[in-house]
Symmetry: C2
Subunit: 175 residues, 2 copies
C-alpha cells in the first residue's frame, strides 16, 4: 500500500511558535512606540554664553535618522502583525506560496539592519555630542533622553534580529 | 532496480558560486583594511580660540567603536577565507556536518550587524560633530576622513549582508 502523500515542503510552524513570534512582534512595536515618544518629545534649553538656545530632537541629524528607522520599523511590524492575525483567524495567508517565506525573510533582515543602524547612529552621536556640550546646563538631560530612546530602539532591534533568525530557518529553499 | 542513493541533505553549492562567495569575502576584507587605514591615520590640528588642539581618531568615541567592529570583521572574514581555501584545496570542511552551515549563518549575521552598527555610529557622530565644529580650521578635513572610513565600512557591511543572504539560504534545517 502506498504511503499517504507527505506534507508540502516547509510545513507551517506550530501554533505555539506562531503565538510566541506574534508576542515578539507586539513587544517590538511597543518598544518602537516608546522610543518614538521619548525621541520626539525631547527638547531642552541650553545656556551658552548666557544666551538660552532651544534645542529639539530635529537639530540632531542622527535623531532624524532614528525617527526615520523607527517609522519604517513600526510600519513593517504592524503589517506583519496584521498578516499573522489574518492567518490565525482565517487559516489563509495574505501572500501565498513560498513568497510568504521570502517576504518574512527579507523583511525581517532589512528592517533589523535599519533598526540596528538607527540605534547605533543615535548612540554614536549622543556619546560624542554629550562630551562636547559637557557642563552646559540642560544638555545632559537632553542627551540622556537620546540615550533612552536609542536603548528602546536597540531592544526593538534585538527582537527583530531574533525574528529574523526564525524567518531564515523557515526559508523553504536553499542553494 | 533501486535508484542510487541520493545526495546528502544540503548539497554543497557549485564551485562557481563558492568562488564568487570567496571573492565577496576578499572584497570585504580589502574594504575593511582600507577603512582601518583611513580611520587610524586620521588626525588634525583644530584652531579653537587661537589655541591649536590636536585631535586624533581616539578622541571620538564613535570612531573607537568603528575600530572595534572593523577588527572583529577582519578577524571573522579572514577565518572564513582560510576555511574556504582549506575546503577548496582538500575537499574537507574544518567544521563538519550541519555545524558548518550554522557557523556561517550566525557568523555572517552577527558580523553584518556589527559592521552595520559601526558604519552607522561613524556616520551619525561625524554628521553632527561636523556641524558643531563648522568653520574651525582643520575640523572639516578630519571629519571628511571619518566619512571616508565609514563609507568603506558600509561597503564591507553590504558585502557581508549579501553573504548572509546566501548562508541563510544554505541553512539545511528549518522550523
Amino acid at each position: 500500500m502506498a504511503p499517504p502523500p507527505g506534507p508540502p515542503p516547509g510545513p507551517p510552524p506550530s501554533m505555539a511558535l506562531r503565538t510566541a513570534l506574534l508576542f515578539l512582534r507586539l513587544f517590538t512595536i511597543a518598544a518602537l512606540f516608546a522610543s518614538i515618544i521619548v525621541l520626539t518629545t525631547n527638547s531642552a534649553y541650553l545656556e551658552i554664553a548666557s544666551v538660552e538656545l532651544k534645542v529639539r530632537f530635529k537639530d540632531i541629524y542622527a535623531y532624524r535618522y532614528m525617527l526615520a528607522t523607527i517609522v519604517m520599523g513600526m510600519a513593517y511590524t504592524l503589517l506583519q502583525i496584521i498578516f499573522t492575525l489574518y492567518y490565525i483567524s482565517t487559516g489563509n495567508r495574505v501572500i501565498t506560496g513560498d513568497g510568504s517565506f521570502t517576504f518574512d525573510f527579507f523583511g525581517d533582515k532589512i528592517v533589523s539592519y535599519l533598526l540596528a543602524t538607527g540605534a547605533a547612529a543615535g548612540f554614536g552621536a549622543t556619546k560624542d555630542m554629550k562630551s562636547v556640550f559637557l557642563g552646559i546646563g540642560g544638555a545632559d538631560k537632553f542627551f540622556n533622553k537620546g540615550y533612552a530612546s536609542a536603548s528602546l530602539l536597540l531592544i526593538a532591534f534585538v527582537c527583530t534580529a531574533m525574528l529574523s533568525v526564525f524567518s531564515s530557518y523557515a526559508l523553504p529553499k536553499r542553494i
